[in-house]
Every structure is written in structure tokens, then in C-alpha cells.
């Protein structure tokens, strides 16, 4: 059996969720059965200048009006190569908060997605949105929740206490840490701590919000995600939008109580046991933090199927598109 060559295109290689998922795709043993995945960084302005030799091309590119001609060129130069797009960014809540003219934006997405043989949603909630909005043809839509290697998170012992609340992610308004800081400050317990792991454009603003509260600690960009998870007892994700939320998956694998805003992909994690905080207000978050830090136990779920389900879904997709005859014979 010959090895299939799968080329993944990416235009933004800043460390973060997308690159971690890609790294997992490139290295997960289950995904390397019969296929070789390689990563190709492309320029945002000039996507393809010549044909890419591959059995399948997977776009992890950002979709926007400026890039649309390049997506069209990509399609035109590879009429016979299966072309996929993984939508890492856009969601219903993203659209609500960032897009003034929603109709125009929906048109862009519909046009761009129509260029691909398959569009992959990274969460069930995002997939539902793409389907309900008619942005992707139902036959072309697949849902593959994002994944990373979780064994090191599963190896972490369940937290002994509920003292340290972790906020893990970019210090950007998307993550809603401003709400979290205000909600935390309303808690009187002097032993509780809020640790923010990450950096970003809102660092100064968040530091101001934290004021002189010495229980709130800015830990900076911490590096190893499993080591960060080991240091926190409860994970809070008050995101304003979130395509999937890898941190939530990691928190589940590490058996950390998880409280989330019920938006977009975070709803997938609610279905898996995370606690939703409705209403989005500071008071609601204070209550949720108080409850979560007082809760005695956490179900020991550990997201057991995540990597296998991810690999299976990708293998199935590759089989469906690249070697239909072989898949049928197998």
C-alpha cells in the first residue's frame, strides 16, 4: 500500500491552539498509518505560485475577503486534488461580536467554503452553526473536535484542593479574563488564588483590573501546557468566543473542575461535564467560582476517547476522499 501525501497549509504559525493541533496531526502515530502529513507555511498574500504535489490538501488558512482570490487560485490549480478546509476561527459568537455587517460576512464564508470538497468544523457547536446558517453544504460538512496528545494531562493526579483557579490563554478580550478578574476580586477568601498563564495585548489592562489584589498572579507565557495544568486546581474559561477550547479538553483530561461560558465550542465541553456560567455577568461568575472552589469532588472522566476519535475521524476522511476504491475494498 502506497503512502498518501497530505499537505497542510497554514498562514499563521504563532504558537497557539492551531499550531498545537497541527503538531498533533503531524506526530500522532494513529494518523501516520498509510499517510504522511507535512506542514507547509504559505504567505498570506501569495498563497500558491505553483501546483502542490499532494494526494490531499488541507487548508488551515484564515478566510477573509483579501485572501479569497488565493483560495480560488488554490482550487483552480488543483481541480483533481481533494481540498479540505479546517475552520479554526469563525463561530457564531465571533460573528456576533466582531462582524458589523453579518450578511456580508456570511456571503464571504459561503463563497469560500464552496471551494472545498469538505469543510471540517472543530467542534459540534461550530458545526451546528455552519449547518444552520447554510454556510456549508450538509454533505460537505464534517465535525472533528480538535485534539492534542493528552497522556501527560491524564497522568496528573487529581488536585488535592480547590485553591488555585487557572486562566490559561492569550491575554486578549476573546478570553474574557477581565470578567474573571472582577468576579474573582469579589470573593472574600484570602487563601484563593487566580493565576493567569499567558500573555497578550490586554496584559496592562488586566493588571489594572487586578489592582492591588495579591491573590491574582500573572504568570506570563508559561511554556509546557501540562506543567501549567499541574499548577492549577480549577480551570475557568469565560471566553467570549471559542471555536473549540483545547484548554477545556486538557482540563478534562487532567481531572480539573472546569467552568465555562456557554458559547460556541465550549458547549461541547458542557456536554462532557463542564459547568456552564449563564448570563456572562461578573456576579454570575463570582457565584460559579465560589461554587467550584467549594465543590468536594470531580468526576474522574479524563476524556478517554479523544485522541482515538480524532485519528479515526481523520483516517475516515482521508479514506473517503483520497482512496475511495481502496477504502471500499478494505
Amino acid at each position: 500500500m502506497t503512502e498518501q501525501l497530505i499537505v497542510h497549509l497554514v498562514d499563521d504559525v504563532t504558537p497557539g491552539g492551531v499550531m498545537r493541533v497541527l503538531d498533533h496531526i503531524l506526530t500522532a502515530p494513529d494518523l501516520r498509518r498509510g499517510a504522511r502529513h507535512i506542514l507547509r507555511r504559505v504567505d498570506r498574500v501569495r498563497v500558491v505560485s505553483r501546483r502542490i504535489e499532494a494526494d490531499m490538501i488541507v487548508s488551515h488558512l484564515s478566510v477573509n475577503w483579501r485572501g479569497l482570490p488565493h483560495l480560488i487560485a488554490l482550487r483552480a490549480m488543483h481541480p483533481d486534488v481533494p481540498l479540505l478546509h479546517v475552520e479554526h476561527s469563525y463561530t457564531q459568537a465571533f460573528t456576533a461580536l466582531n462582524v458589523p455587517h453579518k450578511g456580508r460576512f456570511h456571503t464571504l464564508l459561503r463563497v469560500a467554503y464552496a471551494l472545498f470538497d469538505r469543510v471540517v468544523a472543530v467542534s459540534r457547536a461550530q458545526g451546528d452553526w455552519l449547518a444552520q446558517r447554510g454556510l456549508v453544504d450538509p454533505d460537505a460538512l464534517r465535525v472533528i473536535p480538535s485534539c492534542v496528545a493528552l497522556e501527560r494531562f491524564r497522568a496528573l493526579p487529581a488536585p488535592a484542593s480547590r485553591r488555585v483557579i487557572g486562566a490559561i490563554g492569550r491575554l486578549h478580550r476573546q478570553k474574557g479574563f477581565d470578567t474573571l478578574i472582577e468576579a474573582f476580586r469579589a470573593l472574600p477568601d484570602p487563601d484563593l488564588e487566580l493565576h493567569l498563564h499567558g500573555d497578550g495585548p490586554d496584559r496592562d489592562l488586566l493588571r489594572d483590573l487586578a489592582g492591588g489584589d495579591r491573590r491574582i498572579r500573572f504568570r506570563g507565557h508559561g511554556g509546557d501546557p501540562a506543567a501549567i495544568m499541574a499548577e492549577v486546581d480549577v480551570v475557568a474559561m469565560p471566553s467570549r468566543w471559542e471555536a473549540y477550547g483545547l484548554v477545556a479538553l486538557e482540563a478534562r483530561a487532567a481531572c480539573r473542575p472546569l467552568i465555562v461560558a456557554p458559547v460556541d465550542g465550549l458547549r461541547d465541553h458542557i456536554a462532557a461535564g463542564a459547568t456552564p456560567v449563564r448570563g456572562g455577568g461578573v456576579a454570575a461568575w463570582s457565584t460559579a467560582l465560589r461554587t467550584a472552589t467549594a465543590a468536594p469532588s470531580t468526576p474522574d472522566a479524563r476524556a478517554p476517547e479523544a485522541e482515538a476519535a480524532f485519528a479515526d475521524a481523520w483516517q475516515q476522511l482521508i479514506g473517503e476522499l483520497v482512496a475511495p476504491s481502496r477504502a471500499a475494498a478494505a
Binding site: 457564531q92 461580536l97 458589523p100 450578511g103 456570511h106 477581565d178 449563564r278
Partner: protein
């Protein structure tokens, strides 16, 4: 199952309910139900409503008083239609209103809330010559916040899916979900519309025509301008965490428009000093209303000043003259 449901919150509205129901039952679009929600009335509202139950399209839901938002939520919970509209029990719908909104929603799958302009009527139900003619298309969250194009509580027909996207159930609520926030006794409309715009990707769009007759109730018109402003401020404080950057950009102008609106209510109520104070606050908040609508802002300032200086008579006289084509009143919250 009917295609559309019209929710009629009814609290002590014996005098106006028949006209409202007659107007709804005369809709040209015929696949609909009317859900009257008696919100704990102590007058003959229930008896009147029961009289209409002979019509198979009419249903009555009764509850202890929960306020307008609570009555609407109960109506939504009982509604069976895919399109759910609201008509307060002292307002009237033009016969073609429901047809226009149903067609609009059917033809525009991204629109979650369809509204229209309104003609204003007085206590006796007569047209005043004034109207709300808001912007109908290209409506962004900023428009919703600053100008509330939906205008009043009897203008909107929503898609059920859009309401579902908004619904949540507070911990203490045991019966049904909330679409409108029942902790608000005022500003519950704008809170809901702005939340729709900020938390979902449903769009808000209008259809042409003055399809609602909206009653301006002169008795107790400014039943607490202060209270109204406080509830608007609470609405802002509630929604700000959803989108701090949005509020940082648009709040000053929205506040200026809201204060100007309240100043106009104070003028109608004959309170000149209060109107002057509110206009000063409005100008301090933002000059945008001055730049965008210099005539309306200027006339409000002038009226406030005249009222404070000379008392109500010159203003009453001027507004009678202006009624034919004067500045449009609006309802921002």
C-alpha cells in the same frame, strides 16, 4: 401548528384590549394564533379575553403578575409558531403587518428579528401625525444601542430559532426559559434586542411601512424619567462584560441619545428644569446627536430652555402646530 404566534401581554387593559385583539384577528395572513397573557390583572381583562376564546385562534395564559418581560416569556413558552410577534394590549397592528413580517423572515434566512415603523396614536386611539421611521437595513449593534430601531414593544416579529439562541434559565426559575430579562421593569426591550445583536449572528432588519399603531400614553408619561435612566444604565452595566470594546466605543453616543430622549419625555411632561439638566448631560456625554441630528437636538434644547423659562403653554402651542410634520419622537428604552 400555526406558522405564527402573536403574544399579547395584558395587565389591566380592559379598555384597550378589544381594539388590539380585533386588529390582530383581522390580519390578512391567516395562519396564526394569538396568545393573551393575563399578567395578574385585577380589572375585567380576563373576562374580556375569555370572550375572545370562542375564536379557535385565541388562547389565554394566566399568571400572577411578573411584569411585561415575564408575560412575554410566558407567551413565548406557550407559542407554537416559527414566527413569534409581540403586541402590547394598548397598541394596534395594521392588517398586513403579520403578512409582511412572515414574508420577510421567510425570504431572509439570516434575519432573526423583523420590525417595522410605527404611527403614534393618542389615548383615544387617534393618529397624532407623528411616527417612528427608523433605519430598516444595514443595522449593526451600534445602531441598535444608539437608536433602538425596533422602536417599541409592538413592532417586532422574531424567529423562534433566534429566541432560542437568546433563551436561558436563571437558577431560581422553575417554569420556563427567559428570553426577556424579567429583572428589568423598563429597558427590557432594548436589553433583549442588544443582547440578540451582541451574542448571536441573527440580524435585525425592518420592512417598509408604518405597520404598528403605538399608543403614547400621556398620563404618567415620564413615570420616573430618573427611574428610566437608572434602568437603562443597569442594562448597559449588565451587557458591558459581553463586549467591553464595543461599549467603550459606542456608549458615550448611546448615552447622549438616551438622555436626549429622556429630556424630550420630560418636556412632554412639563418639567423644564429637568429637561435642561438632561440635555446638559446629553451634550456632555457626546456631541454625536448634535452632529447627526442638529435640528432635533437643537429643537429639544430650545424647548427645554423655553419650558424652564416660560412654563408649559408656549410649548403646548408649538407642538400642536408641529404635529403635522414636526420632529419625530422616538423611544429609546
Amino acid at each position: 401548528m400555526p406558522k405564527a404566534s402573536i403574544v399579547v401581554p395584558a395587565f389591566n387593559v380592559a379598555a384597550t384590549l378589544p381594539a388590539t385583539l380585533n386588529a390582530l384577528l383581522a390580519q390578512t395572513f391567516d395562519d396564526f394564533e394569538v396568545i393573551i397573557v393575563d399578567d395578574g390583572s385585577s380589572d375585567s381583562t380576563v373576562a374580556i379575553a375569555e370572550h375572545y376564546l370562542n375564536d379557535p385562534r385565541v388562547r389565554l395564559v394566566r399568571q400572577p403578575n411578573r411584569g411585561l418581560a415575564g408575560a412575554r416569556n410566558s407567551g413565548i413558552a406557550a407559542a407554537q409558531g416559527d414566527c413569534i410577534g409581540f403586541c402590547d394590549a394598548d397598541d394596534l397592528w395594521e392588517p398586513e403587518k403579520l403578512a409582511a413580517h412572515v414574508a420577510h423572515l421567510d425570504q431572509n434566512p439570516l434575519v432573526g428579528l423583523s420590525f417595522s415603523g410605527s404611527a403614534l396614536i393618542d389615548d383615544a386611539g387617534h393618529l397624532t401625525g407623528l411616527a417612528q421611521r427608523p433605519r430598516l437595513s444595514g443595522i449593526t449593534s451600534a445602531h441598535v444601542f444608539q437608536r433602538n430601531p425596533v422602536g417599541n414593544g409592538s413592532a417586532a416579529v422574531m424567529r423562534r430559532a433566534a429566541q432560542r439562541a437568546l433563551a436561558w434559565r436563571p437558577g431560581f426559575e422553575t417554569e420556563r426559559d427567559w428570553v426577556f430579562d424579567e429583572t428589568f421593569r423598563q429597558s427590557e426591550d432594548i436589553e433583549c434586542w442588544l443582547r440578540l445583536s451582541l451574542t448571536t449572528d441573527w440580524t435585525i432588519e425592518g420592512v417598509p411601512g408604518l405597520l404598528t399603531r403605538y399608543r403614547i400614553n400621556n398620563a404618567g408619561l415620564s413615570a420616573g424619567v430618573d427611574r428610566q435612566y437608572a434602568s437603562w444604565q443597569r442594562m448597559v452595566a449588565k451587557l458591558r462584560p459581553l463586549a467591553p470594546a464595543f461599549f467603550a466605543t459606542h456608549e458615550p453616543a448611546a448615552r447622549a441619545y438616551q438622555l436626549r430622549y429622556l429630556a424630550r419625555r420630560a418636556i412632554s411632561d412639563g418639567k423644564g428644569d429637568q429637561a435642561v439638566q438632561l440635555m446638559r448631560q446629553s451634550l456632555r456625554a457626546s456631541l454625536r446627536p448634535c452632529l447627526r441630528e442638529p435640528l432635533k437636538t437643537g429643537s429639544t434644547l430650545a424647548a427645554a430652555g423655553m419650558l424652564a423659562a416660560f412654563g408649559p403653554r408656549p410649548i403646548a402651542w408649538a407642538s400642536r402646530i408641529a404635529a403635522g410634520r414636526g420632529p419625530k419622537p422616538e423611544r429609546n428604552g
